[in-house]
């Protein structure tokens, strides 16, 4: 299958190993990955901070860049959640019905990585090997916007050598929330403290999730504490052999 990769602006810029791992996994499974170079950002930060008008050109860009492709994947539940639930809504709110319809059509073909693997490609065992103790944090938007359910866990359980440990209060937000982490830094940090306490209680070496943004938050806290626990994107574990 020919799959267009939306790297997401954050991972492209700060966590390039995540889209690289996505390419590795999909190519290992025998698929062709293309990276449309005109892509930038889904615009979620603008929408969620109230700047919908500034998000419009980014939504247009996403739609124009990915409209030619049948299947699109992004290693982020949050960005795919925004594409699925916000693009058409924002276009419509600004009176652009045509863009809204095009955005909705592209959104229907845009998948988060675990959705693509399990639902579209029908794969749970991606042939990965990762001999470490891992705790999985289900990110809020993958869980409650996209309803990925246990798909990421089903993929992780089939990784050979992995010691997957349950994370207490896993479904509680880590406190990232985009610009929430800056505007409400104290509350965000209080939420992060509880998330880190739960991660540390598992004795895991690695905390994984399907979103680089939440992992940047959890990882930034663990790093500040010199906790000795790393964060690693789901794609990177699935790419390991």
């Amino acid at each position: 299958m020919r799959i267009a990769l939306f790297a997401t602006c954050l991972a492209d810029t700060l966590f390039p190993d995540v889209p690289r791992a996505t390419v590795t996994v999909l190519e290992r499974l025998g698929h062709e990955v293309v990276f449309p170079l005109d892509q930038t950002c889904c615009g979620q930060m603008h929408v969620n901070t109230g700047y919908q008008r500034n998000a419009l050109p980014l939504i247009s860009r996403y739609v124009e860049t990915f409209e030619p492709y049948e299947v699109i994947v992004a290693p982020s539940g949050s960005c795919v959640g925004s594409i699925a639930h916000q693009h058409a809504m924002v276009a419509r709110r600004h009176g652009d019905e045509r863009l809204a319809q095009r955005a909705a059509a592209v959104a229907r073909r845009t998948y988060e990585l675990s959705q693509l693997l399990v639902d579209v490609l029908g794969v749970e065992n991606v042939g990965a090997h990762y001999p470490h103790r891992v705790a999985y944090h289900p990110t809020c938007h993958s869980l409650r916007l996209l309803r990925v359910g246990d798909r990421p866990l089903r993929l992780l359980r089939r990784v050979s050598g992995i010691d997957l440990v349950p994370l207490p209060d896993a479904e509680v937000c880590c406190g990232f929330g985009g610009t929430f982490a800056l505007k409400n830094s104290d509350v965000s940090t209080a939420m992060l403290a509880d998330k880190m306490r739960n991660v540390l209680s598992t004795g895991a070496e690695v905390c994984t999730a399907g979103d680089s943004s939440c992992l940047m938050h959890i990882g930034g806290g663990l790093s500040r504490l010199r906790a000795g626990v790393r964060t690693l994107h789901l794609a990177e574990i699935l790419a390991s052999t």
């Binding site: 969620n48 937000c173 939420m191």
Partner: protein, 490 residues
């Protein structure tokens, strides 16, 4: 006749409790530093969450009930004027008197006048959000009328000279040791050897309140639901103290927000299943009281119903914001909210805290007056999943953030630093070439990183690095790697 009526009025300043003294982030910071408060909140919300989850799981048609609740509220608000007029005519036909209050000031003045007309200087009150919203107790006190809260938790708040911090359990921020101290300090008739056993505390409150019930001639209530087709009002409660207030006094004065009306008894059936499970985590609440006007020789012989707007038609005027008026005040969204669990209700400033407060209060007051509230959420979505009437609170928050930005843009000549940053980010991100250039510039971050982490960044990112490290920008972005490995070909 044609007249331009303009935008409906917001809830006025200077009366009632819909605005805080400081923005949410500052108020939250104080709350986060209170270790006792954090412990009390975690314990209480964890307990209620578990109870709710178990009783909700019992119903195979829970999702259908939520959808029905949502549909009834949506349809009712669409023809709100007609349902309210029906309610008025039915209440009037059954011997009640209906009053319309444009705002908190109006409502307080009407209630004060009605109480004064009876000659009473004391009233007993059922727990009611709208009377907290309009600041009724303060208005009555200013008129020389003492209002006694009879709900146990409201009594604790009142005796503690405190403010409610939760819709259902307003004293959630207090533990039983603190409650014992308040009772010993503030109840003139309390046993000096009072312990902090729940049964002992309840008994002390019971003895204290019983005297009030037996002497008060005026009762004041809110409502959970007002059924338009028969003019019947409905209050759900746990303690039975509300039943006392509704039946013992000669005069009953009921204050309700105009969004509380539902068309029919069949609609009530849906909400009686949704509300107790969502609020107290019970299959059915212990006391459901209903009354229709007055009944000769039985219960209050004078009944007044005050219909309060106080910003509700302003919220109604925005179709995207309107679902905030669907709320049935169960507080399930508070109990599952990770922000509320850590800050408690006082940080929200308004009597309506938590996720629903963050979307309701700014719409009642005008967004500019509660501008920090729509941002008081990480948009995690737990509230939407818990809401018994399926209000998409995260979507409402995003909508109100957009309204806030748009209203600020329309009102001010000079854009804020944030608006400039967002416009610049949009300009950069709307062009792949500019985005590549920005990525290259961002690599300067490597100069300040130590051992792969950045410990300190300038504003506005300083708020990030105050408590978390930032990642070191990589040598190569993904797109550089792709071009190097795969070339420009797609």
């Amino acid at each position: 006749m044609s007249a331009f009526l303009g935008m409906p009025a917001y809830a006025p300043r200077g009366v009632g409790h819909l605005r805080g003294d400081e923005p949410f982030p500052a108020a939250a910071r104080h709350a986060l530093g209170d270790a006792q408060l954090r412990r009390n909140l975690t314990k209480a919300t964890t307990t209620i969450r578990a109870k709710r989850a178990s009783v909700v799981a019992e119903l195979p048609d829970w999702e259908e009930l939520r959808a029905a609740g949502h549909s009834i509220k949506t349809a009712t608000l669409r023809d709100l004027d007609q349902h309210l007029e029906r309610l008025e005519s039915e209440v009037t036909a059954n011997g009640g008197v209906v009053h319309w209050a444009r705002d908190a000031g109006d409502a307080n003045a009407i209630v004060t006048r009605l109480v004064r007309a009876t000659g009473a200087t004391e009233v007993v009150k059922i727990k009611s959000m709208v009377t907290d919203e309009i600041g009724l107790n303060g208005a009555l006190a200013a008129a020389g009328i003492a209002a006694y809260e009879t709900d146990l938790a409201e009594l604790i708040v009142q005796l503690g000279h405190d403010r409610p911090s939760h819709i259902l359990v307003p004293a959630i921020h207090r533990n039983r040791a603190e409650i014992r101290d308040i009772f010993l300090r503030e109840m003139p008739d309390v046993e000096p050897g009072l312990t902090d056993e729940p049964a002992a505390l309840a008994e002390a409150a019971r003895r204290h309140l019983r005297r009030k019930f037996l002497t008060a001639t005026v009762g004041i209530s809110g409502v959970n639901f007002a059924i338009a087709e028969t003019g019947t009002l409905c209050v759900l409660e746990s303690e039975g103290n509300g039943r006392m207030c509704l039946t013992l006094p000669q005069t009953l004065i009921t204050v309700m927000g105009i969004e509380k009306v539902i068309p029919t008894w069949a609609d009530l059936g849906v909400f009686l299943q949704l509300l107790p499970r969502s609020s107290t985590g019970e299959r059915m609440n212990p006391y459901t009281s209903m009354w229709t006007g007055v009944t000769p020789g039985d219960g209050p012989q004078t009944f007044h119903l005050i219909l309060v707007d106080n910003g509700r038609t302003a919220a109604l005027a925005d179709p995207a914001g309107r679902p905030a008026l669907h709320c049935i005040r169960c507080s399930a969204c508070l109990n599952v909210c990770p922000v509320y669990e850590r800050t408690g209700g006082h940080a929200y400033g308004s009597v309506y805290p938590g996720p629903i407060g963050a979307v309701l209060s700014p719409q009642l007051t005008g967004i500019e007056e509660n501008a920090s509230l729509p941002y008081a959420s990480s948009l995690c979505g737990a509230c939407y999943d818990a809401c018994p009437v399926k209000t998409n609170i995260p979507e409402l928050l995003v909508h109100l953030r957009a309204r806030h930005v748009e209203e600020a843009r329309a009102a001010k000549r000079v854009p804020s630093a944030e608006a400039i940053t967002m416009a610049a980010a949009s300009w950069v991100m709307s062009s792949p070439g500019r985005f590549r250039a920005a990525q290259r510039a961002g690599r300067a971050g490597r100069l300040v990183s130590r051992a792969g982490r950045i410990g300190s960044l300038p504003p506005p990112l300083a708020a990030w690095t105050r408590t978390r490290d930032a990642p070191e920008p990589p040598r190569q972005t993904f797109r550089q790697w792709w071009r190097a490995e795969r070339g420009d070909l797609r």
